[in-house]
Every structure is written in C-alpha cells, then in structure tokens.
C-alpha cells in the first residue's frame, strides 16, 4: 500500500497546495488502492476513474495557473449512492434504479465538485438507506475492513468501508436514524450527523424526509469539519434548509485538538446504557468518560425518560414517510418497468415493477408505513409517534439546560457478523438504539472512536443542541487527541491490513 493513501485529507490538500504532490497522483494512488482491495471489501458500486482523473487534472491546472485552491482541493472522496450525481449511476442500492444516470447533481454533489474535491465513485448502501449493515443492498454486501466476515454498519457502509480501508480519505454518508454514526463507530471512523437542515437534501433520493441528513465520514475530526463546511449551509433548493450561517466547525475542531475542555458540562444519558449493551462497549464508553474528566470536563448523569421510546417512534415515523416517498417509483418517469405487454394496465405494471424492483426490507417498511398511516390506525401509531417525538425533543431541551453536550455509546454492540441479523428485523433495528433520539429531535451528533472491544472499534456519541454542531467537533477533537495520547496511536491504526 502506498503511504500516500494513509494521509488524512487536510494533509493531502496541504501537500497538493504546496506542489509536493499532484492531485492526479493522489487520485491514481487511491484508484490503485480500490483495485487492490475492493474485490474483498466491496465498498464501491461504481468507480469513475476517468471522471476522477479529469477532476484531478483540473485542480492541478488551477494550481499551475496560481489560482487559490480550497482547503480540500484535489482530495479524493467516496460518495454514497443515495446522492444523485449527474451522468453517473445513482441507484440508492436498489434494482429499481439500475441503469439510471440522473440528469442533475444533488447540491451535495455540486458543492463537492465546486470545492475541487475529486469524487472517485459511488458507494454501496442498504437499499434506499433502510438498514444497519449494508446487507440490504441489491448489489451484495460490503465487508468491514477490520474483519471481512463482519458488517461495516449501515446504511452508509460502503462509504465507511472505503474510508476505513484507505480507499478514500473522505466519505459522504446520509443519516436518517444513525446511518452515518453507526457505520463510523463500527469501522473506527468519525461520522457526523448535522443538525436537520444544516446540509441540503436537494438530490438525496428521499427515504424519510423529516429525518434525512447528509454528512461526513472521515479518519480525523478536522477532516470531517472541513468536509461539513464544504457541503453545508443554506440552499434555496431545499425548503427545510436552515437560512443561517454554519457554526465555525473547522475552528472548533482545531480548538478541541488542544485537549482542554475546562468548564464543559457533559451529561451521560442514563437511558442509553444497560440491557442489550455489550460489556466491551460499556467499558470503552466508561474509559471515554474518564478521558473527558481528564480533559477538564464536568461529567454528570442525566435522565431522558422518553429516549426509551425512540426506537418504536422511529420505526413508525420513518416507514410512514418512506411509504409515501417511495410512491414516486411508479414505473413511469424513470427506473424499472416490468410487465408492460400492452395488455396489462398501469396499476398491474406498477405493482409488478415495485415487486421486482424493491428488496424485502423496503417492502416490509412500505407495508408497515401504509399500515401506520391508514385510517383507524393513524392516531394510535403515526400520530402517537409524532407526540413521542415532541417528548424526546423536550427531554433534550431539559438536559441541555444543565449540560453543554450529552454522551453515550454510539452503538450497543461492535460490528456484528455478516448474516447474523438479516432474518430478524427487530435485532437489526436495535443497532440504532443510541442514534435515534438525535435523529428524531433534529439535533447534531457525532461518533468518534474511543476504544477497542476484542480488537474491534467502539464509538463515543457526542450530542449537542440544534445548530451547535461546533460543540460536537470540539469535544470529538479533544477525545481524538486524548485517545491517541492514551493509546500511543489513533484507534484506526489498530486495524489489520486489508
């Protein structure tokens, strides 16, 4: 493996800006790494080598003309396939969109390109982002670079595996109930779910519109902040986009790296612990709390009583929204059409197409959402879940009156074996236990590696109030520094070579 691919994004950008490395050689090194490893990892659904090299040459030409380059110019990126990219396959992990090459770019894609970031290709994911293991992809599972017999998390498991396997230093994921943070935790990466409305949803293939958010997956906190600043901020094309400047995320990450959290009030959420949590995860979390205390933070325990209901509320709200969103796959305007023999009517063609194009988990959620929204059940299920959502937001508000950030494990377990949960939906859903409250409340949360359990990474989740994403980055950077100081190396350095 070329040493070049071990560099983080900030270092690569600095070397490119200084002329010590060309963007083309950086892109080539990562493309070579993909060729050398992706038969085992299967992080990518589509590698766009020509496009990547063209984008890299453009960066090198701009530099040779003396143009000012952005802080990530020339750095390679792995893009989750749920984000549409003009002219490139964008399947969202589904057969129903096989062969579709969208006629436009998502705002996230456009901003990545405008920043001079070099997109290497599109990464695997659970179909329509529904899953926690990437096994629900229509195109085969992705393998965790730490242990190829285990899952890389999901739904952004292609991006997490790509970044953890040094195929790219930057990854884009999307998080509806934990799909950035959980993959980050089980692959030893940083993953941040922005405040809802902080990153444009324009051009994300919609799953649950009141929850979906795109965000960074990286190997360092600073890289995550740099990528978040590149893709975030107001977008008139998304009516739920927040019309206010982003907090100073890169500044917060640099400030946190000085490893001083004096005066910071940290709350441990009592409800995100206990039964169902692996001892190794709880030990890693306890060690992280010790680090926070050592960094000068004041740590107390807080209770958020309604967090226990986040899982049932989420698995009513998200399927309800998905059953509505996926109605757009009607076999008329794009994607698959099955059974159109000139005799069958529209309704039958539509039903045959959706039957052939959707996988089992998508069908389960569409049926569940249809049930929860149907008359007679609406108040008891969807309506009641929305009220619980209010109560979860109130729990956060009460906790943030006394705490600057809240912490918990990111996941109840380390990466589980491939196949272990595919036939048991409720066991799969339990992987989201800790990440769901922040999703429902629309608040930002980050996962940062804090330890190992039987040789597999454990993530610490740091949650902050809405639009205080900078706190997540500051605290995560301090933990990152403290962990490296404690262990003598970053967590990811413990991963065996792929």
């Amino acid at each position: 493996m070329s040493d070049l691919v071990r560099l983080d994004a900030a270092s690569l950008a600095a070397e490119i800006a200084a002329g010590n490395l060309s963007a083309v050689e950086v892109a080539e090194a990562h493309l070579d790494r993909i060729v050398a490893t992706d038969d085992r990892v299967h992080a990518f659904l589509h590698v766009d080598a020509d496009g990547a090299l063209t984008a890299a040459r453009a960066v090198d030409e701009r530099r040779s003309r003396g143009e000012e380059l952005g802080p990530l110019a020339g750095v390679p990126l792995a893009m989750k396939d749920v984000v549409v990219t003009r002219g490139l396959p964008s399947t969202s992990g589904s057969k129903i969109l096989a062969g579709w090459r969208p006629p436009y770019d998502a705002t996230v894609s456009a901003r990545v390109k405008a920043a001079g970031i070099v997109m290497l290709g599109k990464t695997n994911m659970d179909e329509f982002a529904m899953g926690s293991s990437t096994e629900n992809s229509a195109y085969g599972a992705t393998h965790n670079p730490w242990d190829l017999s285990r899952v890389p998390g999901g739904s952004s498991g292609g991006s997490s595996a790509a970044v953890a396997a040094y195929q790219a230093p930057l990854g884009i994921g999307t998080d509806t109930g934990g799909s950035i943070r959980q993959p980050a935790a089980v692959t030893g990466l940083i993953g941040h779910k922005p405040t809802y409305g902080g990153v444009s949803r324009y051009g994300l293939i919609a799953f649950s519109s009141s929850l979906d958010q795109a965000g960074p997956l990286t190997r360092t906190v600073l890289d995550a902040a740099l990528l978040h600043e590149a893709i975030g901020g107001h977008d008139p094309a998304d009516s739920t986009s927040i019309d206010a400047p982003l907090p100073a995320l890169v500044t917060a990450a640099r400030d946190g790296a000085r490893a001083d959290l004096s005066g910071l009030r940290v709350g441990i959420v009592r409800e995100l612990s206990g039964e169902g949590y692996e001892p190794g995860v709880l030990a890693g979390f306890a060690a992280a709390v010790t680090l926070l205390t050592g960094l000068g933070a004041t740590v107390t325990e807080v209770s958020c009583p309604h967090f226990s209901y986040a899982l049932p509320a989420y698995y009513l709200i998200a399927p309800s929204e998905c059953s509505s969103n996926l109605a757009r796959f009607d076999a008329v305007r794009y994607g698959l059409r099955v059974g159109d023999d000139g005799v069958r009517g529209l309704e039958e063609v539509m039903s045959l197409t959706r039957e052939a194009g959707f996988g089992a988990e998508v069908k389960r959620r569409v049926i569940l959402g249809t049930y929860a929204l149907s008359s007679g059940y609406y108040d008891a299920y969807y309506g009641q879940a929305q009220k619980v959502r209010t109560l979860i937001s109130r729990d956060f508000a009460a906790a943030f009156a006394d705490c600057d950030v809240l912490v918990s494990p990111t996941t109840p377990t380390v990466a589980f074996p491939l196949g272990a949960r595919v036939d048991d939906p409720m066991a799969m859903y339990a992987a989201d236990l800790c990440t769901l409250p922040a999703s429902l409340a629309g608040t930002p949360a980050i996962s940062v590696p804090c330890g190992l359990s039987d040789g597999l990474p454990v993530g610490l989740q740091i949650m902050a109030p809405a639009q205080a994403d900078d706190r997540c980055y500051r605290v995560a950077a301090a933990v990152e520094t403290a962990v490296a100081g404690r262990d003598g190396r970053p967590i990811l350095a413990a991963a065996p070579p792929v």
Binding site: S210, R337, V388
Partner: protein
C-alpha cells in the same frame, strides 16, 4: 393473537402497489406482527395533551422568486424513462378496455 393477519398484509401490499408472492406474505405477516407489537409501545406514553412534531426544526413555507429559469432538458429526461413516445412519457393502459 397476532396484531396483523396475513389477509391484512395482503390488502396493505395491494394498497402499496406491491405484487407480493405467497411466500413473501407468509414471511412478512410473521415479521410485521413482531414489529407492530414492538412499535405499539409508543401507546404506553401518556401524550394526550402533547402536540405532534412533524419537523423537529421549525419550518415555514419558502417561496422562490417567480422568474423563468432553465428546467431539465426534455430529451435527456425522456431518454431516462422506461418508455417515451411523441415527446411524452408513454404509460401503460389506464382505462379498463384495451384499445
């Protein structure tokens, strides 16, 4: 007693335009029964006087200026459709009688 029957699942699949197979119905009915049993726990929370949240971050309708701007290219979009004819999407038969 299950909270959802195989027949109900079949009806919901029809509403959702999913031509599910008999095997799928057997599997989904059992799984959905377990899932609905679990998510029904939201009913344990006393929330009669609690307002529902649809979006966690307050949003209001956003209007854009009413000006003409380029749309997607028609030919490019139609080339991506499963079937097109005469500059339009071609749809399967929508009336009862074949022509």
């Amino acid at each position: 007693m299950p909270s959802i029957s195989r027949e109900e699942v079949a009806y919901l699949a029809k509403l959702a335009r999913l031509a599910v197979t008999d095997e799928e119905l057997d599997t989904f009915a059992g799984q959905l029964d377990v899932i609905i049993g679990a998510v029904a726990r939201v009913g344990e929370v006393a929330a009669d006087d609690i307002p529902p949240t649809s979006h966690a971050v307050p949003v209001v309708n956003v209007l854009r200026p009413d000006v003409i701007r380029p749309s997607l290219d028609r030919d490019e979009v139609l080339a991506l459709a499963p079937a097109a004819e005469g500059g339009r999407f071609r749809v399967p038969r929508i009336l009862d009688e074949p022509e």
